[in-house]
């Protein structure tokens, strides 16, 4: 190694404590911005180039660099996203957060010809502006920010591993196969993004149908059931029941009723709504019969939906077996459920809907 490179390594040793401080600030700044913008990512990583790695780089092309500040990747930060669209969102975020050295930044996604595939990643060379931290030492150092998807990261990591491990020039056929995989992963990335967009659109459409009351057009599944519950369809019944004893209503999740409604034969949200309309009054009567003579002043928000299911099962002739199945679905299978079913059945026997 020549004297020039040795001087650069000495400069590296002297700068290292500042670079370590910079690393912490950059990582914290990125994480904070991701939280504020509500962007979920796979990982935020930073690394400082080791002395050995820098020495290797200088041995290869040391004459290219006049001072240490000419080397822009001594500190590297990498954010790995789930979706390809998020790389662009993150780019916009980084442009606001950092001062970008546009001359040295490169979008490697755009470098490929129409008929070539390979490394895809967005590289920004950045500085911390004074708006983030007013510290001349930190503001002066450039660092590299890489933005890529999880699949791009997987390809780059494996490609790097293969390239380094073999230690010999890789035959054309293997290179072609590796690059072919980059093309497949690019398609997969696009497909994941499209799926996310379409699911978001689907949820919006369902929400709209729920708001418009067009429930019979909405197929029943986990997503649509949650949308339905967001409209709080059982709240009025719960309030009526709570009013019996001026009870407090304890909010509880109702998602576990999806399986119950499917087992009861509901195929659309409209089916649930019909069932609710048919049974609501009797569900209230059942609650009044049960709670009216007690001083219980706390109920769970599942009471309305639970009593609707009980009434439906009993009016459809499901009897004790049907109720046991209901409690099994809600409470997990155990011996107590048949006792609960017996007791609920006995309580309901005297009520008008049982005739």
């Amino acid at each position: 190694m020549d004297l020039h490179c040795e001087l650069l390594l000495e400069e590296y040793d002297a700068q290292l404590p500042v670079i370590e401080r910079l690393e912490k600030v950059v990582k914290a700044t990125l994480k904070d911005a991701l939280d504020r913008n509500g962007i979920q990512v796979t990982a935020v990583k930073t690394r400082i180039k080791t002395r050995d790695s820098l020495a290797g780089k200088l041995a290869l092309k040391g004459s290219k660099y006049h001072t240490l500040s000419d080397i822009t990747d001594i500190l590297g930060a990498r954010v790995i996203t789930f979706y390809t669209d998020d790389v662009d969102r993150l780019a916009a975020m980084a442009e606001k957060l950092f001062d970008i050295d546009w001359e040295n930044s490169v979008d490697k996604r755009r470098l490929h010809d129409t008929d070539s595939f390979g490394y895809n990643s967005l590289h920004y060379i950045c500085r911390l502006p004074k708006t983030v931290i007013d510290d001349p030492d930190l503001n002066a150092i450039r660092f590299e920010l890489q933005l890529r998807t999880t699949l791009q990261h997987a390809w780059a990591s494996i490609n790097h591993d293969i390239g380094y491990k073999t230690g010999v020039e890789i035959p054309r056929d293997y290179l072609r196969r590796i690059n072919r995989l980059a093309g497949i992963l690019e398609m997969a990335d696009d497909e994941f993004s499209r799926i996310r967009s379409e699911i978001t659109d689907y949820r919006r459409r369902v929400q709209q149908l729920v708001q418009n009351g067009q429930l019979s057009e909405v197929q029943l599944d986990g997503d649509t059931f949650r949308s339905y519950l967001r409209a709080r369809p059982f709240e009025a019944l719960n309030r009526r029941i709570a009013a019996l004893n001026q009870a407090e209503i304890q909010e509880v999740p109702l998602d576990n009723y999806l399986g119950v409604f499917i087992a009861l034969g509901c195929k659309t949200l409209g089916d649930i709504d019909q069932l609710k309309k048919k049974c609501e009054e009797d569900a209230y009567t059942l609650a009044r019969h049960q709670l009216g003579n007690t001083d219980l002043d706390i109920i769970a928000s599942s009471i309305g939906i639970q009593n609707i299911c009980i009434v439906w099962i009993l009016t459809q002739g499901g009897g004790k077996i049907g109720l046991t199945r209901l409690f099994n679905a809600l409470n997990g299978e155990n011996e107590q459920n048949s006792l609960l079913a017996d007791m609920t059945y006995e309580q309901a026997l005297g009520l008008a809907f049982m005739r």
Binding site: Q250, L296, I299, S301, I303, Q306, L330, N331, Q336, M343
Partner: protein
């Protein structure tokens, strides 16, 4: 009314004995405090000798459940009698607890 807390491996067992009514709830709430900070435990509410539960008692059970969920613990209500079972169904609490 008494409440005794026992430890058995990864389980914390609260043994309730008597009537958990409004009058007894203040002391019971104090007695179950060790359960509220339990991390990653199986909390058993043993009710074989519990004769009665009021709204105040349900609130204590609910408080244990909330803290357990926050601390990665799980709550199982065990051996409730038919009156208490009835209370759990009437209030909708049946879907809140695992009952054995």
């Amino acid at each position: 009314m008494t409440t005794e807390i026992k430890e058995n491996g990864n389980q914390l067992i609260a043994v309730f004995n008597g009537r958990l009514d409004t009058a007894a709830a203040v002391q019971a709430a104090e007695d179950v405090k060790p359960l509220l900070e339990a991390q990653n435990k199986e909390i058993i509410l043993e009710c074989e000798a519990l004769d009665y539960i009021s709204s105040s008692g349900l609130r204590i059970f609910l408080g244990i459940r909330k803290e357990a969920a926050a601390h990665g613990s799980k709550v199982i209500v065990r051996n409730i009698n038919s009156n208490i079972r009835q209370v759990f169904v009437m209030t909708g609490f049946i879907s809140l607890f695992e009952i054995e």
